[in-house]
Subunit: 338 residues, 2 copies
Amino acid sequence: MLSERRLQVLRAIVQDYVGTEEPVGSKALTERHNLGVSPATVRNDMAALEDEGFIAQPHTSAGRIPTDKGYRLFVDKLAGVKPMTAPERRAIQNFLEGSVDLDDVVARTVRLLAQLTRQVAVVQYPSLTRSTVRHVELLSLAPARVMLVLITDTGRVEQRMVDCPAPFGESALADLRARLNSRVAGRRFADVPKLVEDLPDAFEPEDRGTVSTVLSTLLETLVEENEERLMIGGTANLTRFGHDFPFTIRPVLEALEEHVVLLKLLGEAKDPGVTVRIGHENAHEGLNSTSVVSVGYGSGGEAVAKLGVVGPTRMDYPGTMGAVRAVARYVGQILAES
Amino acid sequence: MLSERRLQVLRAIVQDYVGTEEPVGSKALTERHNLGVSPATVRNDMAALEDEGFIAQPHTSAGRIPTDKGYRLFVDKLAGVKPMTAPERRAIQNFLEGSVDLDDVVARTVRLLAQLTRQVAVVQYPSLTRSTVRHVELLSLAPARVMLVLITDTGRVEQRMVDCPAPFGESALADLRARLNSRVAGRRFADVPKLVEDLPDAFEPEDRGTVSTVLSTLLETLVEENEERLMIGGTANLTRFGHDFPFTIRPVLEALEEHVVLLKLLGEAKDPGVTVRIGHENAHEGLNSTSVVSVGYGSGGEAVAKLGVVGPTRMDYPGTMGAVRAVARYVGQILAES
DNA sequence: TGCTGGCACTCACGTGGGAAGAGTGCCAGG
DNA sequence: CCTGGCACTCTTCCCACGTGAGTGCCAGCA
């Protein structure tokens, strides 16, 4: 096991490297942090840390930089979450409170998070799967054409066109609308399939096909996974990445465009608190030199979706984690109010 | 006026530079294009073209590169639009036909355009301002709370919460819904304000406040300019920009995040055909070293929105214009069908 | 056993001087 | 008005060298 001082050395290395973006040497370390020992001692500690794989040197005559494993230890054991200051919190609240609708909340959140962390912000929309149905509306656009509008408790609206197998009368439509809503309004998505199972039986035989079609469209809408949308912002911050641009930035930009990948990435984080995935811990190759800091958020106690930031592994973890957590908290509040 | 041959020289310079990304000299020109004259002659022509501001040299002992003015002349006079090949057209059609709803059409269009042109694709959603109302739905969520859902002929759905000044009965709501739809369904947005002007008069005095509130929310929704949303894709292609990265790419990424700027940019293009804005012709500073190729698209004969690509001024204009035009055409078809 | 100072060693990095090569401008001749 | 020739200008590449930061190791000391 590593001694207390060696952990301190690691912490100091991470902090300095995050600040200066340059490999940090033993001499600089003793000057900037009062470790109470000489550079030579620190060198021994660094050699030990390197043996254990927590730090590495880019080339022989350079200082050390933390490895993914080093950052992991730093995040888990050596650093806490740096809370936002009161003025910062007020600013977050003010900024989010001007929102007019869900899309606007998300858009503002992305911008805020990107500004706050100076990194790429990623916000997943409230997932449908844990939401409840507020209302289902059916509109007849043509004799055999119905528009299905689903309104969720998060204020989200989804619409689908349904081509009916047979013409469907206004009265039957009104009937279906009424029955449907009395059964599913206020219920969770997951419960809907069972609740509407026997609904076609209540209708005239010639309408059953249409009713089934409408219902299956509704169920599709509910489960459709790619309905989890993402909003991304602050990509310009990627330019602060490193100096060897094209090859660093390109795979990241590509990964960011693959929303499916990001959604999966966010979905994997099961921790109720802030989750940090460092470098190679991210399954996607393009993100192997980035870290993802994410957290769930939601209107109630429950997290309905995730938000987070993507940045270089060399990032200010305590600060970023604090910002992400704070933003998630206030977004949750805003959503609960509306 | 420039002689025919000088124009040919300019065309050759643009083509070569776009291909090689390197300043092109007189000797290389005569080798790759059979202009029928010697390098010395070409040099004289180049000197003339430089005097006129169509080309420039990065430094004394280098070849020439086209200026914005040079590209402008090239686009206007020297090059046409390169049509897509039949297989390409089929691929476009196939790819777009799998779409399930409007959002999906837009998402696919962005990806397609980015892949096709290997540049950044920008697609504006069908603008509300020229659309017509298909249906307005009013839902009572609480005694003094109404949800307004607007459905447009482009299949777009907008929802708004309305807090009523006074409780509003179900029957009054149904009445309002019926009257509202009979007046505005099928009408253009621009005409709606006049059509609903006197609507409150038809209601009981105690309901008029609520009716007015609902109507003004509707009007707000109709005119709200920022409801023109954008989808952007292919930002990874920016890495192919140049070799001097950070400073080239950063302002572009920043500009791309300012949707307002992009919307304005797209909106400015009045030409019914493909519009090209080159370098400094773009009002926004960040886009001064990029060109924007855009075109309107829409379900009917009329263009309801714009799409386009953003790329380096050194781009394959004929090819890009062809791709943009083709995609716009097929997107229009898809929208017309649905 | 652990810390310290000293010392030799290793590289990356910046600098400076050529040499090479591409491209130009100009001029005189056809 | 076009052409070949020629001198000139720069950038770019390469190599060699000195510099300095940082290391590893060792012997001495608490």
